[in-house]
Symmetry: C2
Subunit: 330 residues, 2 copies
């Protein structure tokens, strides 16, 4: 089985690549070949026996989509995207990468099937809870309507609709995975409005100060990067029959307040870590976060076997295992 | 005020044009100029004092969108589209006209504003209840999610998302009007799956036989062509403040079963007319119609002042007034 990953250099892309390379299978089916593509050269994963092709190219270019479809991969994980903040600042870039990226890929797959014989790959699309926009009910059900309040959310929502229609027509076997917030994101603090959800845990664990721009009562739904990879792989294993016509699914997660995140940090890393969180209320950041969805029902995904962490403690422990070598830095 | 209508040769486009030309105003604001465009030459309406430009061109062509935006109309009614059945048969054509048509227009408006000074027209987009797909609750609320089961529905749903995002960014003042079924459609029977909703009234009123492919219990929501025009004009008069961020609205209508439609026909045209309806059950047609939304809540549109008929009798009477010269043919 040939697996293609776009956005393979990204936070989730690298972890997905590492797991598939290490295990050599995807849902117990052996992987014979890996193709990794990103606008930034994807690192070569360790431990994979078969051929790995590394491509550095622009996912917004229709010719790139054609070249990828011509490889006829069996499973495609389409992760290439620019994030919310950048899509909001650069309107054209957001539409080119986040919308045209998936549309070009779908169309290239369809054309490949028309011109070179039947070709219906599995296509796993990374969507986002950003397709929802306030005002919200207490818990967002699988039947809540799609009203994005960012260009990024609109682009992902359109990607979902295209994926569903191309799937319904039999051109592709699509499944859209709506990630909640994926934390703890390793690396340096970034400028994204929700960066503090990771920062208030990541920085203190390393003995560094972290700023908290919102109230402790802010509620949000999170899952670990390990769960994000698990969602993608599990999605690739679902059949059309299991999915039915509604192929875009809100993923489960841990719904906690910022205060509860901090209590989890206290349990795991003690008072010393918690003291490194500095309240720095920022109305602009608060207002952005208020437009974001808080709690999901995710009943369908749960029934289909998608699993996230039980509590925020577990999310922190996974960060320590996967990113900090298994123990707290001292 | 300069008003542009795309799809001006269509069933609704011609009626909208006729009303605007006759009244010379749109929501009490005087119309100084009319531009009518369609791929089929739009007929020149009677009774308009100002200049009328008639254009025959393809709404799927980006150059056409640019040329239209360069005219800087104050209000644009974007009606050009191909219908559900055709969009399902011809995948490429559907996406080119129904999706690229609105996207090109939005982008041309934005570019016009960037290059030639501020330009933020009112853009009224004709969407459809086809953005919804089964399974449905008993009544589809304004918060029900968008899960089209046709390519036409997907294209309209994507148009709504683009319209909302371009509006949110301040490039246009958009409003999306989701029509229910618009009946009675004048003219010859057509091949559309829902054509019988008009046919079982229109043909018998003219002494002709009509086929009924579905059960009498089939429930559906309808409004007259006169209401459709009313919705579009009312939408053009709503301010951003009235609309809020959720600019796409399900319109009200008359929710009746086919059996109730037939009873209304009996009240208006007698048993002789009803006898002309011939039951010809067709499983394929039945199955298509089962995927369509039945009943809407339309609470937001109603609160915003959109009005449809009270009952199906009124819809038949409007057909007689507007299409049959005010009296039943004998
Ligand atoms: N991390 C989250 O919390 C989260 C939440 C919801 C959705 N998602 C989605 O999941 C996917 C992966 O997220 P991530 O956290 O790994 O993001 P990331 O930003 O770390 O990775 C995205 C990758 O896409 C690549 N990319 C950007 N522009 C490209 C272009 N023009 N051509 C090719 N590649 C391009 C980037 O180089 C990057 O490697 C994205 O689609 C994202 O929108 C992530
Ligand atoms: N009538 C209904 O029941 C109904 C229901 C829901 C939505 N709508 C929507 O309302 C709008 C008007 O509906 P209608 O009933 O008048 O439809 P119609 O088919 O009578 O009119 C559509 C017009 O678009 C024109 N058109 C098609 N392709 C074009 C192209 N490439 N370039 C320019 N023009 C093109 C056609 O020539 C036609 O005149 C459409 O957008 C339709 O999707 C109608």
């Amino acid at each position: 089985m040939h697996v293609l990953i776009t956005g393979a250099s990204g936070m989730i892309g690298q972890r997905l690549t590492a797991r598939l390379a290490r295990e050599g299978t995807c849902n117990d089916r052996p992987i014979s070949r890996l193709t990794l593509t990103d606008v930034v050269a994807p690192p070569k994963p360790a431990g994979f026996a078969g051929p790995i092709e590394i491509r550095t190219e622009d996912a917004g270019d229709p010719a790139v989509a054609e070249a990828l479809a011509a490889l006829r991969p069996d499973i495609i994980f389409h992760l290439a995207a620019i994030i919310s903040g950048e899509a909001e600042r650069d309107f054209d870039k957001g539409y080119r990468i986040n919308l045209d990226g998936i549309r070009n890929l779908l169309e290239a797959i369809r054309q490949e099937g028309i011109h070179n014989g039947p070709y219906v790959p599995k296509l796993v699309f990374s969507s986002s809870s950003g397709i929802f926009g306030a005002p919200f009910p207490a818990s967002i059900s699988d039947e809540f309507h799609v009203t994005p309040l960012t260009s990024y959310g609109a682009q992902k929502a359109i990607g979902e609709l295209l994926l569903a229609d191309y799937s319904r027509r039999g051109f592709v076997e699509g499944v859209g995975v709506r990630f909640p917030s994926i934390v703890i994101r390793p690396g340096k603090p970034n400028a994204s409005a929700g960066g503090f959800f990771s920062g208030i845990i990541r920085e203190p664990l390393q003995g560094l100060e972290a700023l908290l721009p919102v109230e402790d009562s802010v509620l949000f739904t999170h899952a670990s990067p390990r769960s994000a990879v698990g969602f993608l792989i599990h999605a690739a294993g679902l059949s059309r029959e299991q999915l039915g016509p509604r192929i875009n699914l809100s993923m489960p997660g841990v719904c906690v307040t910022v205060g509860e995140q901090i209590e989890a940090l206290r349990r795991i890393a003690g008072e010393r870590a918690v003291k490194l969180i500095r309240r720095a209320p920022d109305k602009a950041a608060s207002d952005i976060v208020k437009g974001w969805p808080t709690r999901f029902d995710a009943a369908r995904a749960t029934a289909l076997g998608f699993k996230a962490e039980k509590d925020f403690d577990e999310i922190i422990r996974i960060h320590i295992e996967d990113d900090l070598g298994g123990h707290l830095p001292n």
